[in-house]
Symmetry: C2
Subunit: 144 residues, 2 copies
């Protein structure tokens, strides 16, 4: 456990928002200004191997990292990409239910809710209100 790995782990725990590799980089860089992106990636992988963190492959673009290694579900905001935990135990019956419905040997499952976080709900309400009086193209700058 080197200095950079310790700092990386601490920052992921502190951020608690399921950061991506570059969000970790930005946070760690404040404490270790000379750290490089490759160290971030290599250490994130090492921390995964040691079971200190886990990777979330939400959506398909960037990987998110989670200091909570217990099995749990997530909600993802469809607009800003924010990821948060859902406070329930995973439903193991889902795996049992599918065991007889396919010829795969089922070894796990992943459930992800998709939604709008509170901030983006507000933004949406604002946009809908604005569309009533302004031309839509004027305000629909953001993508979903």
């Amino acid at each position: 456990m080197t200095r950079q790995r310790r700092v990386i782990l601490e920052e992921i725990r502190k951020l608690d928002c399921h950061p991506t590799a570059d969000e970790v980089y930005e946070a760690v860089r404040k404490r270790l200004p000379r750290i490089s992106m490759s160290t971030i990636y290599r250490d994130l992988e090492a921390l995964c191997d040691w079971g200190k963190i886990q990777v979330l492959e939400v959506g398909c673009s960037k990987k998110h990292f989670d200091a909570d290694t217990k099995d749990h579900y997530h909600v993802r905001c469809a607009r800003c990409g924010r990821v948060e935990n859902l406070p329930v135990q995973p439903f193991s019956y889902l795996e049992r239910a599918f065991r007889d419905l396919c010829d795969y040997e089922v070894i796990g499952h992943r459930l992800e809710l998709l939604g709008l976080c509170p901030a983006c709900q507000k933004a949406k309400e604002y946009r809908e209100a604005a569309e009533g009086i302004i031309d839509i193209d004027e305000v629909s700058g953001e993508e979903v």
Copy 2:
């Protein structure tokens, strides 16, 4: 609907295995040898926009494409990455269940089973048998 789009759609339907962009490319190239990767990507996007196909963001690396646009679940092989359909209607109660458990406005969910496809189950059995007589490193050339 141009020639290349028609061929792309036909090949995705024919493949029926949730191909990735480059698998589509390889298949289409047999019929349209001069087609380019950018056309593949652009036409895949257009076909999505028109609701002719849908994208699956399984795991986190490549996108897979599916000619079946009805909402449905998938199993993914943890070893070879193969993706197949699961023959059930999505469980809408999952979204209702989580509505009160988080402050997100829930707009959808994604459930993905993880397992070993029949071919990889066989490979695994073979490997386990082999490990009894050969040094593990000799046979564990494949990655999960």
